[in-house]
């Protein structure tokens, strides 16, 4: 049982990265996102002033990296990103879920019907009753959990391949939604419910700063506590300066994001319509920023919960163990069948959450809501480094994957790329991302 693997002398650049203990893959994904953002920034700038041959002017004139566009990108990404976090667990355990878009449609149909018809008509709650949105959301989450759990049961206990079960689910749930609503658009939706849609519900400048500062403090304290815990067990820790630099970067990123969200100002006529909501005494001269949308907060909460599940709980450990070696997991006493049910039920709940955001953003449940979302969600997870062979994947990766996909699409729309070319590019990027990931794994020696 020898341990003689000679380590090649690390290069200087690599040693800085390893001192900081930064995940190089995370860095790569953020790098890709930054490149895409810069490219679109300059492209949009070039389109604005085509006769000036000055890259710096293009950069400063670009419209991609404006508060308005970053705000829009964030709220457009949320629905797919929420579902993609669940897809990570599905793919990690070597399954696939093709039914997420259809499941989203069924849950939004249930929620649409609940709030506009069932509760007001059958139960006699008048429209606008304060309980309506919450009962609606509960009904949606329950629907998602039940359908997801049932699909998980067929996959886990009846051993029908996930591909088949969810391919069937894709056809079934899309049309169950159609049947429930007779193919009609359901709306308008409840005012409170619509707060989850993005621009309809934001924290405003003051509370955004409060949340941002709390988050900054929490992550700083969290990193320091983790360090102290390591020291207590006498594990090696990174040098203090590296820890400090990491905390500084994290805090700057959080506060920077808040600053951008706050910098997107509410149009004057919107403020004038309801100036008290934006914290003004009078309408004249009142300016306000949107701040962080509730839907983005929801995504952050989902991301934190899912990351904790993945890294800190037995459930998460079993999910990854099962993905790495299903036989070993079963021999270790893990109930892999029940685990499958749990995972698919979780995806169902996340579809319902994604559905809340998607329908609240539109203001309606429509018959084609969530169409092709299954492919966007799978692509987001895969671009984010989730391996279809199982056992490997991260929650943050899936979210960045969703962000990259959305950036490409809205960036191309901004510069006027025709729709078919947009999809061609996205298709190429998907394949390219997986190829890069395979090369990275080869080079870094990981499997």
């Amino acid at each position: 049982m020898s341990d003689q693997t000679p380590n090649p002398a690390p290069s200087a650049r690599r040693s800085i990265l390893s001192t900081l203990e930064v995940d190089t893959r995370l860095l790569g994904m953020i790098g890709a996102f930054v490149v895409i953002a810069l490219a679109f920034q300059m492209w949009t700038g070039f389109k604005a002033i085509p006769d000036v041959m000055n890259p710096i002017a293009w950069f400063s004139e670009g419209r991609f990296m404006t508060p308005r566009n970053i705000f829009n990108l964030s709220i457009q990404t949320v629905s797919v990103a929420i579902m993609a976090t669940g897809m990570v667990f599905v793919i990690v355990t070597r399954h696939i879920d093709l039914s997420v878009g259809a499941l989203l449609a069924t849950t939004t149909a249930v929620m649409g019907m609940t709030q506009t018809q069932i509760l007001p008509n059958a139960l006699g709650l008048e429209l606008g009753h304060p309980l309506i949105p919450w009962i609606t959301i509960l009904a949606g989450l329950l629907t998602g959990a039940l359908i997801g759990g049932f699909q998980g049961y067929l996959i886990g206990y009846q051993a029908i391949p996930a591909f088949i079960v969810t391919l069937g689910g894709l056809l079934i749930w899309r049309n169950v939604a159609w049947h429930m609503t007779d193919g009609q658009t359901i709306g308008p939706l409840n005012e409170t419910y619509m707060l989850f849609g993005g621009i309809n519900g934001t924290l405003g400048v003051f509370w955004s700063w409060v949340v941002g500062l709390l988050a900054a403090v929490a992550s700083g304290v969290g990193l320091l506590l983790a360090r102290r815990n390591k020291l207590r067990h006498e594990f090696p820790v990174k040098p203090a300066w590296a820890e400090g630099a990491l905390i500084a970067i994290v805090v700057a990123a959080i506060l920077g994001f808040v600053a951008v969200m706050n910098a997107y100002t509410v149009p004057d006529r919107v403020v004038a319509r309801d100036f008290e909501r934006w914290g003004c005494e009078v309408a004249e001269g009142c300016t306000a920023g949107y701040g962080i949308p509730y839907s983005v907060l929801l995504l952050i909460a989902v991301a934190i919960v899912m990351t904790v599940i993945a890294q800190r709980t037995r459930l998460g450990r079993y999910i990854f163990a099962t993905g790495g070696n299903p036989d070993a997991a079963e021999l270790s006493g893990i109930n892999t069948k029940l685990l499958t049910v749990k995972i698919f039920a979780m995806v169902g709940v996340l579809c319902a959450l994604g559905g809340i955001v998607a329908s609240a953003r539109l203001g309606y449940h429509t018959n084609d809501i969530g169409i092709l979302d299954e492919l966007r969600v799978i692509a987001a997870a895969v671009i984010g480094g989730t391996a279809l062979a199982g056992g490997v994947g991260t929650i943050y990766g899936a979210i960045i994957g969703a962000l990259i996909m959305q950036s490409l699409q809205s960036g191309m729309a901004m510069v006027g790329v025709d729709a078919p070319y947009q999809n061609i590019v996205v298709g190429f990027v998907l394949v390219l991302a997986v190829w890069i990931d395979i090369q990275y794994r080869k080079l870094s020696g990981a499997k």
């Binding site: 067990h233 006498e234 079993y318 070696n325 070993a328 006493g333 893990i334």
Partner: protein, 250 residues
């Protein structure tokens, strides 16, 4: 006479009409190593997988420590302090050594979260004892050598204080030096009073390590002999011909 640690009585299991294990009985005493020999498909691994809970027997009884035991799952088997080291090294390749060591029995914080730091500390401790060269605690075990992976599997048995250890070809994937380390470890565990079932194809190794050897062929038990009573040739003819020449002569 001491109570046997394990008694498997008249155990049968069939897979689609094929009797993989056919009315087999075997026992194991504390501080004893019993070797299971036979061709591929003789039923050794199947028999042992019944004891470790991976398969459910069709009929027969298992007695542990003089008490009848119901083993229906790997978890039941672990509850009886039975640990198994599989031929295929049942490790989750994508997880690190500590996660594998504690898989299915994670240490948790008071809030119920997996306590990775404590697990790592415990792993460091036990590895320092079993395999002092073991340093790659943070890496997925896919990056480890066969011997290192095997020591993770063995550490699992030692850490959870197994009383009964099942080793299914523990040295099949190992080099000479590493094989010797496993052999030393078997002696050490035996001295601590563990009972060990050892499966191997290597008759010579078995003669060295075991107290008794049991030979199986076509799902049936040919016979069990003390190693000092037989020669390697006798064992081979039991494996190949399905009978012990000495016994038949007598």
């Amino acid at each position: 006479m001491t109570t046997p640690l394990v008694q498997m009585k008249d155990v049968c299991i069939s897979f689609g009409g094929v009797k993989a294990v056919d009315h087999v009985s075997i026992d194991l005493y504390p501080g004893e190593v019993v070797g299971l020999l036979g061709h591929n498909g003789a039923g050794k691994s199947t028999l042992i997988k019944i004891l470790s809970g991976a398969y459910k027997m069709d009929s027969g009884e298992i007695w542990i420590d003089g008490k009848k035991a119901n083993i229906h799952s790997p978890r039941d088997s672990r509850d009886h302090n039975i640990e198994t080291i599989y031929q295929t090294l049942a490790l989750a390749d994508n997880l690190d050594a500590a996660s594998n060591l504690f898989l299915g029995r994670e240490l948790t914080t008071p809030l119920g979260f997996v306590d990775d730091d404590r697990q790592e500390a415990e792993t460091r401790k036990i590895m320092a004892r079993l395999n002092p060269n073991f340093k790659k605690l943070k890496e997925p075990v896919s990056g480890l050598s066969g011997g290192q992976r095997q020591s993770v599997a063995i550490a699992r048995a030692v850490y959870f204080k197994a009383k009964i250890l099942i080793m299914d070809e523990p040295t099949a994937a190992l080099g000479v030096h590493e094989t010797q380390m496993v052999a030393d470890l078997i002696q050490e565990l035996k001295a601590q009073g563990l009972g060990i079932f050892l499966i191997s194809h290597d008759t010579r190794e078995m003669m060295e390590l075991c107290d008794r050897v049991s030979v199986m062929k076509n799902g049936q038990m040919i016979g069990t002999e003390r190693v000092e009573d037989v020669t390697e040739d006798d064992i081979l003819s039991m494996i190949i011909l399905g009978k012990n020449p000495k016994r038949d002569a007598a």
